[in-house]
Symmetry: C2
DNA sequence: GTCAGTTGCTCAATCGATGTTGCAATCCTT
DNA sequence: AAGGATTGCAACATCGATTGAGCAACTGAC
């Protein structure tokens, strides 16, 4: 008799159905046909299992089969519209394939990324999606060493299959739009567009920054170094730099390209202090979309990254068994101010 | 010799260090002192393990010990500021305790909730946090049956330890503030406050709706049934109902209490169509906080739920080994319009 | 010198599921 | 009717870590 309060095993089912554990296993995991178990026997076993509330022990199966049914995702943060949208799609897609999603966030700490990956390896994950990695090559190396199927999302690795949104194209669109729309301002310090936020050491930021510089140079003749304030992804830092910039140039610049939602949130905490009139002489754009962000007091151009497509393509790459480094680009979308982009709202509450 | 591309086991380390597998196990899992292994032996084994890049197989350990080191969280959605904030804190807190967080989202489908829980049980999770459950009692029953430690967050179960934010207090604050601040409007249809969104069958919504009704009755004498439009959590539904309401009463109501961020996102997709002047005769409040939401074209009162405290208290309840139903309340905070609440921005980008 | 007690380790069973091998019983085939 | 093929199932080793039991070797006591 099995202990109360603990789940029945195939041995319990075997005893109760008068079959052997291996027959029970076959009946329950679908391999009974190959193993020449009679239909009626299999059915009898399934009935007993259902009656007893049997459910498989994935640890035991995983140990035996060296596959866990777990699929990992590593990302910098959950509390971010872009990444939480990725994890939403990832979860849905994983369950659809009968896999159990395990998501860990690493706060953009390279050490935490490695620790998390090693933790996931301890659980024998079958594959891993690495989104927004700070140190992609280190993670890529580990995956190759242990032969783990993996895909990078958003921030690519040179050594591995990767799916990213087309940062250069998106940033170019946004920068051009800002520069075209920018009002003429007398003060030369404020007359030029500025970029705030992002980490130039990271792929995505560096592409966006380069595209910004290019667009500025092309449309305005040249781009000064002080126009790029790549102060990272921490909202508090962005707030400081926003304040410093406003102090330095005597108000809001005519054009402001904000690199990512967290930087925007940070900047916002300073922008809220300004009188509404301050925004009249300024065009703001943000690389990343937020439905509320699109509807602030002042108009904001936003760039939407197709997180659904990113996840889909990443799964597709894994399904194909891609191991060689490929870089897939997903085009982003420029969203005009005060626009609700269909399909970007929370799926549910 | 072990297969290349696969991780070394304690048997490999045993062979290489000239000790037995059981000694290796003891040396590596910390039990070597109890098992009277010499310090030097343990150290030698640890050195070999480090050199070989050994890391434990949690499936094997979990199978033997009947504990997995996994801790589950079930929530309706990732792409929601409140829930993604919960999962962020949950992840941090789980790792801090040496546990691996497994988060699944269920799209508010009772069947998916049960399926997810059973899936997690297959992986032998040690405990589970259930946030925003649609059918708490069904999940509670399963947990009790299999003896799984669990805590409900946000939506409580009558049968289990639960931590919720004080919905009644928060909704009362918000409703009162809206009613106090509401402008006088001639049209009687628009002169009263309305509540939009939420599912009256769910605990949180029902408490908020009750508190809204009470506040309205207390301050305005009575509350009509048409003032409560509990149309659920799907943005699209909220958008429809927003439009219908505006059509029905000839414009925005003087006071609008929006129940939850997804409903607000939905409503927003209709509000964006209105001219700015439409908001002059209206006060809007939302139960849930979003930094961008706080800074829209029009002023919005918001209610912030302390997701960090919710997670902390939930872990504390589990640590205490709480099994009997207790209901802990965490007070929410009323946030005035155009306010950045410290500590609510993304932790990181 | 003998015996009890301690130290330091190894042996072997175990967790639950899988899958290869093997073994009766039945079914054809000629 | 004898031999081989097929059917239907059970036995057993296995995955990797844990842990109770056990066994030498050494220590100290008398």
């Amino acid at each position: 008799m099995r202990r109360t309060g603990s789940k029945p095993t195939i041995y319990d089912i075997a005893r109760l159905s008068g079959a052997s554990p291996s027959t029970v296993s076959a009946a329950l995991n679908g391999s009974w046909k190959d193993r020449r178990i009679r239909e009626e026997t299999a059915q009898r076993i399934r009935d007993v299992a259902a009656a007893e509330g049997y459910s498989i022990n994935m640890q035991a199966r995983g140990l035996r089969k060296a596959r866990s049914g777990l699929v990992g995702m590593i990302l910098p943060a959950h509390d971010n519209r872009f990444f939480s949208s990725l994890s939403q799609h990832f979860t849905t897609e994983a369950w659809r394939r009968g896999l159990c999603p395990v998501i860990v966030s690493t706060r953009r700490e390279p050490q935490e990324e490695v620790r998390s990956l090693e933790s996931l390896l301890s659980y024998a994950i079958d594959s891993v999606f690495i989104a927004g990695a700070t140190d992609p090559e280190a993670l890529s190396r580990i995956c190759h060493q242990v032969g783990l199927a993996h895909v990078f999302i958003d921030l690519p690795s040179m050594q591995s299959p990767s799916v990213v949104s087309d940062n250069a194209a998106g940033a170019a669109m946004l920068a051009r739009k800002i520069i075209e729309t920018m009002p003429a301002v007398d003060d030369p310090r404020r007359a030029k567009p500025y970029l705030l936020g992002g980490d130039p050491r990271l792929y995505a930021s560096s592409r966006r920054i380069a595209a910004f510089r290019e667009a500025v140079t092309e449309m305005r003749g040249h781009c000064d170094d002080d126009q790029v304030i790549a102060c990272g992804y921490v909202p508090a830092r962005a707030a400081e730099e926003m304040e410093r910039l406003i102090d330095r140039i005597g108000g809001l610049p005519a054009g402001l390209f904000i690199n990512s939602i967290p930087a925007f949130e940070g900047a916002l905490s300073h922008l809220v202090l300004l009188p509404p009139a301050a925004f009249a002489q300024s065009v703001i754009g943000c690389y990343d979309y937020d439905p509320f962000g699109a509807f602030l007091q002042f108009p904001v151009y936003m760039v939407w990254q197709d997180s659904h497509a990113l996840v889909q393509r990443a799964f597709a790459l894994l399904d194909q068994g891609a191991k060689t480094p490929v870089l897939e680009m997903i085009p982003p979308v420029l969203v005009p101010p005060r626009t609700i982009l269909p399909g970007t709202l929370s799926e549910q509450g």
